[in-house]
Amino acid sequence: MSVTTEITEFLQDVVQAMGLDLTPSIEETDDATRINLVGEDGGVLVRRGGEGLQALQHLAATAFRRQLGDDNRIVIDCNGFRKDKDAELKQMALHLVSKARSSGMPREMGPLNPYERRIVHLAIAEDPGATSESIGDAFMKTVIISTRK
């Protein structure tokens, strides 16, 4: 059984135990396997900035860490909530690049969690004239976005 199937079954068990009517839909992207939980009960996971979804993501990643290895990334979403947030984050990062460029001053973004920082770093890496760097030693870090002269 593939790790994606195992995680999907785990998520089905969890949402059923919670009493939520949500159905997983799997999408493979270049970057990760996304399991999107779809249904009208999604609000429970998405409210308060998606803290329930975040918890579920951490617990699934921890439980299946060994099977996932270093190369497989799994992203758990609910009604596309995370996908929308990821797109906003990327837009914000690119907006700060243009502000850094026009002002000549670095811009700060965050504090962000590791998942969010990864999205920002990948977005910035697409622009050869811009760099990004994480500052701090806690779980949440600020990302400094600079442009080359």
């Binding site: 009493g19 996971l45 329930g52 918890a55 579920l56 617990l59 439980a63």
Partner: protein, 87 residues
């Protein structure tokens, strides 16, 4: 899909058991009890001592995620709940 649980296991306890059993090396040692205290569900979680570190996680992140999931499930069922991790 049926959303009722078999027997008298509450959704909060059911969720905790499913998730904790997936996290540990010795799922057969996982014990969850649930009691009512002043309108609040109190869940006590016990695992084999070797599995305690997995339940707590680095900087307590796994324990925090378990508490969030317990709270979210309780909220869905109009309740409040507290998780005690017994070591």
């Amino acid at each position: 899909m049926s959303v009722t649980n078999s027997g008298d296991v509450s959704p909060i306890r059911a969720v905790l058991e499913v998730v904790v059993r997936a996290l540990v090396d010795r799922p057969e040692s996982v014990r969850v009890t649930e009691t009512e205290r002043r309108g609040m569900s109190v869940l006590e979680l016990r695992t084999s001592p070797e599995d305690m570190g997995k339940i707590i996680g680095r900087q307590g992140r796994t324990a925090a995620a378990l508490r969030t999931l317990v709270a979210v499930t309780a909220e869905k069922h109009g309740k409040r709940a507290q998780l005690d991790i017994k070591d």
